[in-house]
Amino acid sequence: MSDDVDEQLRRAMKVLDDQVPSGYFEGLPQRTLARLEDSTIMQTSSETNRSTPPAPVSTMNQKERDEDSGLHDIRSLASSTKARLSSRRSTSQPVASEDDILASSSAGWKAVALPEPAKMVSLPELASLPSRSEVEAADRAARAQLKAELKAEKKIAVATATVADEAPSASMVDAPSIGSRIAAKKSGKGAMIALVGVGLAAAAGAAIYFATASKDKTETVAAASRPLPKAPELTSTTKELPPPPAQVAPPAPEVPAVAAAVPAAAAEPAVEETKPAAKSDRKEPKEKVHKVEIRDTVNGGASAKPDKPVTPPKEEVKAGGGESEPSFDDLLKEAGVSETKATAKPKLDKKSLSGADIKAGMSSVAGKAQGCFAGTQGTAAVKLTVAPSGQVQKVTVTGVFANTPVGACVEKAVKSATFPPWDGGPQSFAYSYLLAE
């Protein structure tokens, strides 16, 4: 059937092939090269600035003419036209007038180049201008008026200065309003600016004074509420800790007394001393750890010899655990967890179903599937997914028996198929049964 169609197709194509004359292929390389030349010329002409006219459409075009191919005539015409246009564009000088250039320029540029007409900036006529004497008189009058205004403003400024001296606190508070008044009056500027400066400085000084005073107060309060320092070595660790009740009880702020108390405290059992530290440092829950820390801090350096050998806390914990309790791994081993894990999922050699496995599995239910034949002959195409356990997960019957009782019967039959288990993911494949008598 397919051969018949193929044969028909080949015959039709052969007819097409037969119509190609023998001479066609003799000219094809030349035409191809000419086309290549054309495209190269077009590329270079577009790449260059078109300052020079592109090379004449080359000798290849002459050859094309000999071949007398219509395509090449059109191509040569197109390329020559292009060349002419490009050369004209690049070589021809601008013949347009400046007006034309301006007209073609942008509106913004025109606005810059061409200002408004001269009417707007022309001088008035001489006849309408005032005489020299008139101008001088007007000038003098203006000066006299200005002097009078200045005198009046000075008087006001002196009055405000006295008011400010009498009530400095008010001037400090009201400084901005004075400043604005000064600015409004524009008189006695120097004096007023100095006044305002003094006022501002006073205000700043007062503010700093209050700030430092309040700080001192808070510091003294904090100092009063702070615990007493014990010894210079201990300050770094015990400064923030609440003092032990026995030592804090005598309210003696003197350092020597505290220093005397420290050796006594050091001589006491370490557990008692480290209790406050343990309270403050909640990350370290074990007492042993604190013992070590405090001894190091108090006795300081290599001279300090603790009763017990000092080991890092973690190691100590591990060692303790190793001595007294079995490790977690040991526990697991004892419980046999790893062994059960190993035995629970044995690895299979088979990684996937082979063709033979599929064939065997499907053949085992072929009888059942073919038993579904109910008078209609045809192929029941089956798509199925098999789990790694070898059980059929999903079956779909496609083709002519899809969604028919026969299809359902085949589906049921295929579901009962079993395959050898393998190690991997589910596998899907298609299979078909010929249902016939």
């Binding site: 059937m1 397919s2 169609v5 193929d6 028909q8 197709l9 080949r10 015959r11 039709a12 194509m13 007819v15 097409l16 092939d17 119509q19 190609v20 004359p21 001479g23 066609y24 292929f25 094809l28 390389p29 030349q30 035409r31 191809t32 090269l33 086309r35 290549l36 495209s39 071949e67 007398d68 191919s69 219509g70 395509l71 090449h72």
Partner: protein
């Protein structure tokens, strides 16, 4: 090998060497274009364009694939572009057989003349029907069918040319055959009814 040396020279810009390569492969390239497009003028255009593109891309050709396979791929892609751009292939049967015999619009350029009555009769029969049926296929199906059936290339090579899996090639060939058969049988029925 001569092909290799020509290839190397062409890669360096030697057009004569490239001309020799064109001469070597022109028949197969042209035939492929003709079978895909179904008419000579378009096939001529596509064949030339394919060679031009190949020349430009020679420097990028790394030699991993066979040169012919690479050239074929360019030809097929150029033909597909031509078909998609102006539906040349689809309009095959509307152009008539006379135009199909033209190259560059001027049959005399090839020494061609108007088709003989015998040719016309031949064309108007089975060939026309088959060409029409092929033209009715989608571009991808048509190309795959032509490469497999007419050019008789193995599926592996077709897969390489079209850059698709072999399974897809097989499916496309079967689907194209099915549609072609369907179309031809419908035409036969229609022709019988007319008679």
């Amino acid at each position: 090998m001569a092909e290799d040396s020509d290839l190397d020279r062409a890669r360096e810009g030697d057009r004569e060497a490239f001309g020799r390569l064109v001469q070597r492969y022109q028949r197969r390239v042209y035939a492929a274009a003709l079978h895909i497009l179904g008419n000579h003028s378009d096939a001529d255009d596509v064949a030339q364009e394919a060679f031009v593109r190949a020349y430009r891309g020679l420097k990028a050709f790394d030699g991993r694939a066979d040169f012919f396979t690479w050239l074929y791929r360019i030809t097929v892609n150029t033909a597909l572009n031509a078909m998609r751009s102006d539906k040349r292939g689809a309009a095959l049967h509307q152009r008539g057989n006379t135009e199909a015999a033209h190259v560059g619009g001027r049959p005399e350029a090839l020494g061609l003349h108007a088709p003989t009555p015998a040719t016309q009769v031949q064309h108007s029969g089975e060939v026309t029907r088959v060409l029409e049926a092929v033209a009715s296929l989608s571009a991808t199906l048509r190309v795959t069918l032509v490469l497999a059936t007419v050019e008789e290339l193995p599926h592996k090579q077709i897969a390489e040319i079209l850059e698709i899996p072999e399974g897809t090639v097989a499916w496309r060939v079967n689907e194209a055959r099915r549609l072609l058969r369907q179309k031809l049988s419908t035409d036969e029925v229609a022709a019988a009814a007319v008679k």
